[in-house]
Amino acid sequence: MADFDAIVVGAGLAGSVAALELARAEKSVLVIERGNFAGAKNMTGGRIYVHSLRKVFSDEELAEAPFERKITHERISLMAPDSNLTIDFTSDELGRDEHASYSVLHAPFDQWLAEKAEEAGAEFIYGIPVEGLMKDESGKVIGVSAGEDEITAEVVILADGANSLLAKEAVFYEKPPANQMAVGVKEVFELPAATITDRVLAASDDEGAAWLFAGDATHGVFGGGFMYTNRDSISLGVVAGIDAVANGDCVPVYQMLEDLKQHPSVAPLIKGAKVVEHSGHMVPEGGVNIMPPLVNDGVMLAGDCAMMCLNLGYMVRGMDYAVAAGQMAGKNAARAIDAQDTSINGLVHYVEDLENSFVMKDLHQYKNEPAFLESFDRMFNAYPALARDVMNSMFVVDGSPAAPIKKKVLPKVKQVGLLNIVKDARGAMKAL
């Protein structure tokens, strides 16, 4: 008899939701988290799209979730060292509660999620890094080990994040390649709620903005800058391709963030604010291209450790996938326990559920996007400069005789190459 029906490694979004579903199915479940509380080792940009949480929680429960602000402004910028062109989008549709998105901070949010799982009957233990998996003579995973301790379970769910050290033992997945992974560095800036509201032109302290910067945010390296408004703080950071930075002629990622903070279009946002945290985390941008096997005998993978993440250039998603995958993992684990078959054959229904859901459909749909973005050098250099030049020629008035816009703009376009622009537009359409 195993110690628990299920063990979940990691109390992030996938892990706590999986535990919650197992507890709701009246299974005994232990979540082992290496941080001293849920979220203590976790980091996000970040924002969560609420749709997958709505399949886990009632409206009343979600009303108490520690969301920071509803995102009602989407901003995208093309940033050159000496200019910045921003699109600011807002609409009634964007803010509709059914499919809204919210800025979040992991420390408060993950603790709330873990509490919900605990209320449903899941047990949590904190401050313990799981070091290895226990296997029987057939190779089936039958538990976990941490130091001297060994705990057994019918099924183990790995939800141990983008830098999983256990995926190798579980599904023989060594580690993702550096050209499919990004590194994120973020600082949190404390500011009064009303100041933030005013600075991003939000309607109230409950609403805010998500902002992505392409171009000079990473000094032309594959990646971008981001800003999310929290209630009493602003999250500002940079995400850059690990391989691109490692092998590029560029400053360190933390210096990219420092330079972004100084850029004239960003500095006023955080003026007078105090840095209260400096954090780092990896983003599995390769998505389905680098996905490990999702099940093996006695073990399942969900969330970032399974590379369930998507970078479309204008948005990054991972948390809504983690919630959905955690829910499917938990439900299918409970069913497999009931059917007394937690072998790969008993657990594979999890993969089928995922394939039939938006999670895998999205990841397949956009599987060419990472490669397209990585090779999209002009997005990070030429286009921000082109945008600056075109805008300058439209808006700078110096008293010299007016020339037709076409005459002003066309030479700038030709510098980049009309064919290149057509090619990039086609590439983007194909990848998206």
Binding site: G39, V245, V253, Y254, S279
Partner: protein, 98 residues
């Protein structure tokens, strides 16, 4: 390295973070005499700036400010890192915001 300037002292930002540093055990270790080219990669990718080369070219690494992201493991886990583990029980960085 690039001629673009490093103006920031990232240690000042790490100082606002909360850590429980394991003074006994280093959870990341480098090989003896690491390749300078590989070390340069770590200087660029580490979000905490833990891999340093001073003006005299001396390399140094301090695991104490580690953010536990794993980026160095992904890029140099097979080359100049001889060990990459998570810090021991209750140790390491503790995000209050995340």
């Amino acid at each position: 390295m690039s001629d673009m300037k490093i103006t920031v002292n990232v240690d000042e930002y790490l100082a606002v973070n909360k850590y429980e540093v394991d003074e006994e055990t280093a959870h990341i270790e480098l090989v003896d005499e690491p390749s300078p080219a590989e070390f340069d990669k770590l200087i660029r990718v580490c979000p905490a700036g833990l891999y340093k080369r001073d003006e005299d070219g001396r390399e140094s690494f301090d695991y104490a400010g580690c953010l536990e992201c794993g980026t160095c493991r992904i890029i140099c886990g097979d080359t100049i890192l001889s060990k990459w583990a998570y810090p021991g029980p209750t140790m390491g960085v503790e995000y209050r915001y995340g």
